[in-house]
């Protein structure tokens, strides 16, 4: 392989990206060296097992990936703004819609939500950390390295171009030669390990580590959504693991699972992919529901309406999520009976979801609503998500779907549910829990500007796509003729996309502004919250979270404590706290995963084996390790407490 096959060449956009990457890496390295921060980076972040720090690293990565996926989106919208545009060629366009979809779902939406879960859930249930802090670090680093592996594809070797669904035979060696598709397979495989481990970790954490008195039906609703999501993860992700492995075998070792030769079945891939893929949709929407529930309840100053109905509807949605996958390919030709069954199961999901929408409305009914930034995102969600949901029911009708299938109608639908649902929730939760992570609120004024700009931009961008779809515009085309009549709506959509881009810049500016200008919070309870994450001493909780684990007497545990004025601490109740030790192994293990994955991408098997051996060696070292953690002394806890009170 020559160097010009290794690096992607010939496109000024890519050369620009090369320079940007080089400059960024250089800048990071020199800043760390100049301020002598390498040791700090290693001790405080790369080796941490603290769920709050891991959560923050997830959020930073997710925002970076939102930038990357967003730039992809803007490039696509630029190309489609006018007919017969020559900004991108078809191959480049294919690569960009593939990376846009994959990055936004796998490396943006999921890590953003998992980041919030990490920060919030242990605090909400009154725990010191998750059940397996070391494993949690493994989860983060495998996700991170998988994401990096996928992301370098556009400058080294070339990006995948078969869509985020990677249907066969399009994704086969014959039709997608080169390393691009291998990046997809291995990047997702490596980060998928992390996701599965997160699922197991949170199930055990929530089942076993709740504060005394917190029965299952006294858990905060976001914790419930995390539990249900984790169960979906545990049963859905192994399906993806197998599907990716089988396609990897097809591409690297000549097997015939999905190939046209050797009696393989290409539609087997589509079935396996969506058997994971549809539950995946609920993996990114259920935590969003949990976030909105918390926020709407807090800022309506009321207990969540229909708490139990909320819990049961999530469980029903989770069960149904495994029974609807065929609706992604009604046109496969399985016949009227099969399509009807999946049509009905799909529409059935509308029922528990409708229950939730009404519960949010009734929570606000007669509440004293505060229009904070997180609340605005939540209100925007209800309106826009309903539009996405109703068009979803239209798509669920199998016969009608033959018209909508693979048109912009579908593109509009899933952006209305994924952006108005998941992305709005990420932003809402980010603003809501930001003071818990950094000790100050994000600026409300900039936050509201950001919300309105994004909300309007979102509708300007995606509402026209419904009509483009009805006018027959297929998805995944890189350009169109002027005679098609699609120009004006496409142009409007592009304007909307850039408005959302501007809103993103405003969000990042708000972080910068708030770090410098916002006044620090003195208490741990900036929003007058209801659940235990607001019960910590000091704005930012200490690494052991609670000096004394609170006792829970009902739903909205912290609200009750405040009402019953039971917050005086009894100093005698403080006991030494057992905490887990830091470890560099999760980071190093993930580096070996990266090396192994990179080798397999280029079919350099020696490198794949070297990486795999590295992973195994670290696992052996971990198994032989006898580390029982350490204790935080009573004196240290008291010292922390008195420093907060001053």
């Amino acid at each position: 392989m020559k160097w010009d096959e290794f690096f992607v060449t010939g496109d000024p956009l890519i050369y620009g990206a090369d320079v940007a990457i080089a400059v960024t890496v250089l800048a990071i390295v020199s800043v760390l060296t100049y301020f002598k921060r390498w040791g700090w980076l290693w001790r405080e972040w790369l080796t941490t097992v603290d769920h709050k720090k891991i959560g923050i690293m997830y959020l930073i990565s997710a925002i970076l990936m939102l930038f990357r996926g967003g730039v992809d989106a803007l490039i696509m919208r630029t190309q489609l703004a006018v007919p017969n545009a020559g900004f991108l060629n078809s191959q480049h366009y294919n690569e960009i819609f593939t990376t846009h979809g994959t990055i936004m779902i796998i490396f943006m939406a999921m890590p953003f939500l998992i980041g919030l879960m990490n920060v919030v859930v242990p605090l909400q249930i009154g725990a010191r950390d998750v059940a397996y802090p070391y494993l949690n670090a493994v989860s983060f680093w495998t996700f991170f390295m998988g994401a990096m592996l996928f992301n370098i594809s556009f400058v080294i070797g070339g990006s995948p171009s078969a869509g985020w669904t990677s249907y066969m035979p399009l994704a086969s060696n014959e039709l997608s030669p080169g390393p691009g598709q291998n990046y997809y397979l291995l990047g997702l495989q490596i980060s998928g390990i992390g996701t599965l481990l997160t699922g197991i970790n949170f199930i055990v954490t929530i089942l076993k580590m709740r504060a005394p008195g917190m029965t299952l039906l006294r858990m905060p609703i976001f914790t419930w959504s995390t539990l249900v999501t984790s169960i979906i993860i545990v049963f859905a992700f192994p399906i993806l693991t197998v599907a990716l492995a089988l396609m990897t075998f097809d591409r690297l070792f000549g097997s015939h699972f999905f190939t046209l030769s050797g009696e393989g079945l290409d539609m087997l891939w589509a079935n396996l992919f969506w058997l994971w893929g549809h539950p995946e949709v609920y993996i990114v929407i259920l935590p969003a529901f949990g976030i909105f529930s918390e926020i709407i309840s807090t800022f309506s100053r009321k207990t969540l309406f229909g708490y139990k109905a909320m819990v049961y509807s999530m469980i029903i949605i989770a069960a149904l999520s495994f029974l609807v996958w065929v609706h992604h390919f009604f046109t496969m030709g399985t016949g009227a009976l099969v399509n009807s069954v999946f049509s009905i199961t799909t529409m059935a999901i509308g029922i528990p979801t409708g229950v939730k929408i009404f519960n949010w409305l009734f929570t606000m009914y007669k509440g004293r609503i505060q229009f904070t930034t997180p609340m605005l995102w939540s209100l925007g969600f209800i309106v826009n998500f309903v539009i996405g949901g109703v068009t979803g029911v239209m798509l669920a009708m199998a016969a009608a779907d033959y018209q909508y299938h693979n048109t912009y109608f579908l593109v509009a639908h899933f952006h209305y549910v994924l952006i108005a649902g998941t992305v709005f929730a990420c932003f809402a939760g980010f603003h809501y829990w930001y003071p818990k992570m950094f000790g100050h609120k994000l600026n409300e004024k900039i936050g509201k500007w950001c919300f309105w700009l994004f909300m309007i931009g979102f509708n300007v961008c995606f509402m026209p796509m419904y009509f483009l779809g009805l006018a027959g515009m297929p998805r995944r085309i890189y350009t169109y003729d002027p005679e098609s009549g699609w120009f004006s709506l496409n142009f409007v959509a592009t304007i909307g996309a850039f408005l959302m881009g501007a809103a993103f810049i405003l969000l990042v500016y708000n972080i910068y502004y708030s770090i410098r200008r916002q006044k620090p919070e003195v208490s741990g309870d900036p929003w007058d919250g209801r659940t235990l994450e607001w019960a910590t001493d000091g704005a930012i909780p200490p690494h052991y979270n609670f000096a004394v684990i609170p006792k829970v007497t009902g739903l909205d545990a912290f609200w009750r404590l405040k009402k019953e004025k039971q917050r005086e601490r009894i100093d005698d109740a403080i006991l030494p706290i057992h905490m887990p030790s830091h470890s560099g192994k999760p980071f190093m293990m993930s580096v070996f995963f990266f090396i192994s994955g990179f080798g397999l991408v280029f079919e350099w098997f020696w490198m794949g084996i070297v990486g795999a051996v590295g992973v195994l060696v670290i696992m052996i070292l971990r198994s032989l390790e006898c580390d029982k953690g350490y204790y935080v002394s009573v004196e240290e806890i008291k010292r922390d407490l008195s420093s907060i009170k001053q």
Partner: protein
């Protein structure tokens, strides 16, 4: 976490006496749930691709009862000896654990030997992972199980090393117990492979 090491858990089996041990055992059960999903997907793939031999060799031509029965016998017995090892652990008999776990690993290695020999026979007779969709599914399903067994042998070996170094503690006994869950699980998976791959592959004619 919490004040795990100060609490006493008299009356519980040793592996449940530390907080970490308890959490790890529950977490591993959930992991086995994920493993069931993984093998289910492989079984589903195998069933869908059954009979799709693309004019190449068929399972009726290549499967042989004798080797497969020996494999089944070895693995099922190893599950029994693994159970005896746990029994010895409950009695606190370190020597007994070595004997039975050692025997378990030997039987597992025997199983693996026969499986590798069987695979080599098939390759010799012209059925490889690239021959047809059916043989791809066969090799990946049985191979994934085989890789699990190989991993288990290495893992349990490592745990025996720790037993020798640290003796029977709540930590080491939890590890022994968890690895025994893993070993029994592989046995269960094998029963499904034996029946739905080998037995039905020999009896039923497809395509």
């Amino acid at each position: 976490m919490g004040n795990a090491h100060q609490q006493t858990h008299e009356g519980l089996p040793l592996e449940y006496r530390s907080e970490t041990g308890k959490l790890n055992i529950l977490g591993f059960w959930i992991f086995l749930g994920a493993e069931i999903a993984l093998f289910s997907t492989l079984f589903a793939t195998y069933m869908v691709l059954t009979g799709r031999t693309a004019g190449g060799p068929t399972p009726q031509e290549l499967f042989e009862m004798k080797g497969v029965l020996t494999q089944t016998f070895l693995l099922l017995t190893s599950s029994f000896t693994c159970g005896l090892a746990i029994h010895q652990m409950r009695l606190g008999n370190l020597k007994g654990i070595y004997v039975w776990l050692g025997l378990t690993l030997a039987l597992g290695a025997g199983f693996l030997g026969f499986e590798i020999y069987e695979f080599m026979q098939y390759v010799h007779e012209g059925a490889t992972i690239g021959t047809s969709a059916f043989w791809s599914a066969f090799f990946v399903l049985a191979g994934t199980h085989g890789v699990h067994v190989a991993f288990g042998i290495g893992w349990i070996g490592l745990i025996m090393l720790q037993l020798a170094k640290r003796g029977l503690t709540p930590e080491t006994s939890a590890k022994v117990f968890i690895s025994s869950l893993y070993w029994h699980f592989l046995d269960v998976v094998w029963i499904f492979i034996f029946t739905s791959v080998y037995l039905s592959g020999m009896v039923m004619s497809h395509g």
